[in-house]
Each structure stands twice: as C-alpha cells, then as structure tokens.
C-alpha cells in the first residue's frame, strides 16, 4: 500500500516514541516497506550532539537498533532548520519530499487548550502534507 514510511523522532524523548514505532513496524513489516527515521535539528550545537558526525552516528545507531528490534528495513536521517522551534513543520514537509515517503507516522499529544492557539506539529503536518499521515496518541 505504501512505498516508504517517514517517522519523525525526537531522541530526547524515546519513551514517547514507542507506540508510534510499534505502529510503524506493524505497517512496514508485512510488506517490507523501508522506514526512514527523521530528526530535525538546529544549526547550532544542542542537547543531543556537539557535531554532525555525532548526530549522524546516533541516528544510524537508533535506526539500526529499531530495525533489528522490529525486523524492519530502517535508516536514520537528519534535516536542518534555522529556527526549528517554529520551522519544524516546514522542515518535515521538506523531509517528506526529499525522502519520497508516502506515509508519515508521528507521535502526538492529546489535544488541549493551547492547541487552539498553537496547533500541534502533528496536526499541522496532517493539514499540509500531500501524503497520508498517521498520528499516534
């Protein structure tokens, strides 16, 4: 049904990813659909990595571990934004284009009051992406 699945991740909060990754594996495994784990990063050093190689190796390790654990074909990629606090959505839309993914599986929180003012990233991706989006709560 799908050719490639993009899974945006935040390595700082691995616990929040479990359900989304399990859902991804459930879709990907039967048809051997390749999965791309995508991290969006700033143009400055951050909590996870001091340099590009460090982030790349963390992403590769993460993808490899998830691939092994769930029996899926997984790779990790990093995408960069000048101001990801507000541009995350654009960076992810670009990532969808660049990877050629036709399904996005994304963890998201239960809507609350603030979403009326600041819609969730998942909600915005679902509103703007031209591909299928699966939001996992």
């Amino acid at each position: 049904m799908f050719k490639k699945i993009l899974v945006p991740i935040d390595l700082r909060h691995p616990d929040a990813l479990e359900k989304a990754i399990s859902a991804t594996a459930a879709i990907a495994k039967p048809e051997n659909i390749p999965v791309v784990f995508a991290a969006v990063s700033t143009a400055a050093p951050s909590a996870l990595a001091h340099n590009p190689d460090e982030l790349k190796s963390k992403m590769a390790e993460f993808a490899e571990a998830q691939g092994r654990q769930h029996g899926i074909d997984a790779t990790g990629q990093a995408f960069f934004s000048h101001d990801p606090s507000v541009d995350l959505e654009n960076a992810l839309l670009k990532a969808i284009d660049e990877t050629g993914a036709d399904l996005v599986v994304m963890a998201t929180h239960v809507p609350h009051l603030s979403d009326r003012f600041w819609p969730s990233n998942g909600g915005r991706i679902a509103s703007h992406a031209g591909v299928s989006v699966f939001l996992v709560r």
């Binding site: 935040d10 990813l17 700033t42 400055a44 050093p45 909590a47 990595a49 982030l55 000048h82 541009d87």
Partner: protein, 545 residues
C-alpha cells in the same frame, strides 16, 4: 516523535573542525517543565536570576527614581570621563584584531567547519545584521551628529564655522565640515562594527566549530575551562541578558518618545503618555508576530523590508538633496575619515574632552553594552562564512554603508545649515536643541516632506521591531542555556516582558537611569571582549584551514 518537542543535533555537512572535548551537555542545567499549556525549557539559574533581578531593578528604579537616577548617571559619567582612554584604546584593539584576521591565514577558517555552506544569501544576511546592529541609530543620529560635531564639538580642536552670534566664519567651514563628517563616521564606522565582529566571531567559532552552546559564556572556555559551566559563566550570561533587555527596553521607551515627537511634527498628534504606550504596544505586537514566525519567516523578512525602505529613503535624499555635492562628498568624507581616524583614536594629549568623553567614550560603552545582543544574533546567522569573508562583511561593508548614509543625511543637513540661516535643521540642532526632530527638520526642507517624514516614522518603528524581535531571540537563547530550539512560548515571554519594562519605565520614569546603567555594563564587557580577542586567536589556531 513527541509533538511538543522538536529537534536535536547540529548541522550537516560540516567537514573538519576542531571540537572542544567537554563533558558538558547542552541543556544539562535546564529545567524542563510545563506551566499550564506552556512548555518551559529554561536554564537554572540564568533564567530565574536574570528575570527576577530585572523585575527588582525596575521596581527599585520606579520606587526610588530620584535617588537611583543620579547614581546611575554619575556611574556612567565617571566611567566615560575617567576611563575614556580605556574604551578608546580597546576600540582600537578590536579594529586591529579584525584587520589582522583579514590578512592572516586564520581568515581562511570557515565558521561551522571546513565544508559548511552559508545559511543565508548575502542580502538576507546583511539585512539582518545591519537592522539589528545600528539601523535605528542611523535614523536618529544621521542628521544630528554631523551638524552637531561641525558646529559645537570641535573634535581635535578644529574650530566651529560659527561665531558666538551664529554668523558663518567662511575660512573655518571646509575644515569643520570635513571634521564633522570624519568624527561622525568614526563613531559609526570600523570601530563599532569591529566590536560586534569580535563578539559575533568568537561566539560563532566556539559554538559552530567547537560544539559549545550558543551563549556568551562559551567564549570563555579557553580561559575558565570547565568552570565556564558554573557561576563564572552564569554571571557572564546574566550580565548579557541584563544589558540586552535594559538596552532594548530603554531604547524602546526613548524610541516611542522620538516617534511620538515625529508624529506631532508631521501630523500634529500631540506628545502624550497614551500615544507613546500605544506605540510601544504596537511595536511589541509586531515583534511578537515576527518572533512567532521565526528567524526566516519573521525576523529576516522584516529586516529585508526594512533595508529596502531605508534604501529608498537614502536614494530619495541623494536625489532630492544636493546630489553632485553628495557624490563628491562621499569620497571626500572617506578621505577625511581615513586621514582623521588615527588621531581621533588616540586618547592622550587632547583637549576635546566634551567630544572624546561625552561622545566617543559614551558611544564605545554603548556599542559594547549592545554587543552581546548584536554579536549573538550575527553569530547565529553567520554559519558557513569564512572568517575573512565574515570580517569583511561585518566590518568593511557596513562601515561603507554608514559613510554613504552619513554623507547623504548629514551632508544634506550641513548644506542646509550652511546655505540657509532659516533652515529647520539649524533650528533643531543649533538654535533650540531638539535632537529628535533633526531628521524631520532636514526632510522638511526637501520636496515631498509629508510623505518622506511619514516613511521616516515608519522606518523608525520598523527598526525598533527588528531590534526587538532579534533581541528577544537572543535573550531566549541565553536563558535557555544556549538552546536555539527552546519552546516558542519563552521568546513570546521575553518579547512581551521587554515591552512591559519599557512601558513601566516610560510611565514611572527611570528610562534615563536604566539606560545609563545598561551603558555602564559596557565597562565589564570591554574586559570580556578583550579576553574574547585572545580566545578567538587561540580557538582559530587549532582549526583546519
């Protein structure tokens, strides 16, 4: 990925760079929590200490303004009067460091690693650094300073072209005019931009190449080592927040007064607290929209619009003013600057105390107190440039633009003053000193005065917005421990807080006192910047070229 978080890691692809090996994890001292619907990711203790101290200072200034005002004024005056030599010599050191970086092989080092590519085009980059750096000052001082220095300051003892009764002394005109322009360009040329360049380059180097957080303290890693992450670093960051917020808030307060004066001059809207508070709220709201739209969608777009309006106004003044005189003056002023910059930079053996201490040392303290803000902002948008390219673009090109701007605005005003004894500039700068009206006075004697004055007011306001939004991003990053991806609600908080502090000081009094205090932070930061020069060379030496 969790929806309320965003990102991690750093840019790609950067190639070889010499990382600093430290156990410090960016954000390790941060408190991540949720207040109501808002996420917070703030550095402990920088966020709380700087926020609470700012509130305390505002409160104390409002409560005891008759006592506090003179203390801060006296502190600023003491610093600029007794330590003028220190500020002036330090300014020279910063220029020399920058020039050295251009000509030595260290200039080949690329910010962000050997293979890093620039984040922004030249136009976008230049617009942002110029709008944040000095845009608003050019509006205010572009007319005032050349005329004032020519008529009153007597830099290096060059006599005024006017006698005590205001009559023109023909034989003094040429020298006074040249010195007026040279002295102004000295204050707006290489020296201020060298100050910004030193801060920006050191921050960019230690963050993008060395992997340290994008915050002031990182520059001091070669000096403090791991103690950088403790209280010595906290103090540097808190001081940077302090200088930036008070610098922005007091400028916003004074800016609202100036814009209000302009509105009264052009449209007859009376000067009042209400009008000024509305202006501050308006500027803050636009800045809020800008920071919420982010660096690319807000700050950069506004900066580019700003530059285009400024360029149009500049072009208009050149065409409507004495065009041929201005064209030849541009080169004459460059020559006068080149001739006088060394004597003006020497603090000893001079008798022009009013100019040297009241203007130059004050300016240097002012630029330096603003340098953490402007420097951090320039650093953030400068990844991918070589050091040589960076210094040329941050030092030389803005200086040339300043010469052009001062030539057009100051040169036109000087012509008006010298050729028409009834000119409005003469009225507002020489006869009855009203500096906030000097620009409008110059425009009033050119064609289409209503339209250009209106554009000038818009430009003043937009320049404030572009300072306010970039300043809020900088404070947010510092108080988030160098994280540039802190939750948006925090930048909204700082932008709003800055507007509220400006309104409180405007209504309660104390703008002058706290501005004097902000300028006084220029002294400790001068020492900080001198140390940063050492850190730059030490940091660059190890980088692959």
């Amino acid at each position: 990925m969790s929806d309320d978080t965003s990102n991690q890691g750093i840019p790609d692809p950067d190639g070889a760079a010499n990382m600093i090996d430290t156990d410090y994890e960016i954000g390790q001292d941060n408190i991540e929590t949720q207040v109501g619907p808002f996420n917070l990711d703030i550095h402990n203790p920088v966020f709380l200490v700087s926020g609470l101290t700012i509130v305390a200072f505002v409160f104390l200034t409002l409560a005891f303004q008759t006592e506090v005002g003179p203390v801060f004024d006296a502190l600023r005056n003491w610093l600029t009067s007794n330590l003028d030599w220190f500020f002036i010599l330090s300014g020279n050191v910063f220029v020399l460091v920058c020039l050295l970086l251009i000509v030595t092989p260290l200039g080949s080092v690329r910010i962000g690693g050997k293979d890093a590519e620039p984040d922004y085009t030249y136009f976008g980059w230049f617009a942002m650094l110029f709008a944040a750096g000095m845009g608003i000052g050019l509006m205010f001082f572009g007319v005032l300073e050349p005329v004032y220095h020519m008529a009153f300051s007597s830099p290096l003892g060059v006599p005024s072209p006017f006698d005590a009764d205001g009559n023109l002394i023909e034989e003094n005109v040429a020298a006074a005019k040249a010195m007026g322009m040279a002295a102004t360009i000295y204050h707006w040329g290489l020296h201020p931009w060298a100050i910004y360049a030193v801060v920006a380059l050191s921050l960019a180097l230690f963050s993008y190449n060395k992997g340290l957080p994008l915050t002031m303290r990182s520059v001091f890693y070669p000096i403090f080592g791991e103690k950088t992450w403790g209280w010595p670093g906290h103090v540097i960051d808190i001081l940077a927040v302090f200088a930036t917020l008070f610098g922005l808030a007091t400028s916003l307060g004074f800016g609202a007064q100036q814009a209000n004066a302009g509105l009264e001059f052009v449209f007859g809207i009376p000067v009042s607290d209400t009008a000024q508070v509305i202006l501050i709220i308006g500027i803050t709201v636009v800045a809020l929209v800008s920071v919420m739209r982010g660096l690319d969608g807000g700050v950069k777009v506004l900066s580019e619009i700003n530059m285009m309006i400024a360029a149009l106004l500049l072009l208009f003044v050149i065409i409507a003013g004495p065009t041929m005189t201005l064209v030849s003056d541009f080169f004459a002023n460059l020559g006068a600057y080149a001739r006088e910059v060394v004597p003006l930079s020497m603090p000893f053996g001079r008798e022009d105390d009013g100019f040297r201490q009241g203007w130059t040392a004050f300016y240097w303290a002012w630029w330096i107190s603003w340098s953490p803000f402007v420097g951090m902002f320039i650093a953030r948008v400068s990844r991918g440039r070589t050091v040589r390219e960076f210094v040329i673009c941050v030092l030389i090109i803005p200086s040339i633009v300043s010469v052009l701007w001062m030539t057009a605005f100051g040169g036109t005003a000087i012509e008006q003053v010298l050729t028409d004894s009834g000119s409005q500039v003469r009225e507002y700068v020489i006869a009855s000193y009203s500096p906030e009206l000097s620009l409008f006075g110059m425009l009033a004697d050119l064609p289409f005065a209503s339209i250009t004055s209106f554009i000038a007011i818009i430009l003043v306001i937009v320049f404030f917005v572009t300072s306010s939004d970039s300043g809020s991003l900088v404070i947010d990053t510092i108080t988030a421990g160098g994280k540039v991806d802190a939750p948006v609600s925090q930048r909204v908080f700082w932008c709003t807080f800055e507007g509220l502090v400006a309104i409180a000081l405007l209504l309660g009094g104390g703008l002058g006192a706290l501005q004097a205090m902000a300028v006084s932070t220029g002294f400790p930061f001068t020492i900080v910047l001198l140390l940063a020069c050492y850190a730059i060379f030490k940091g660059l030496k190890d980088e692959p070229r």
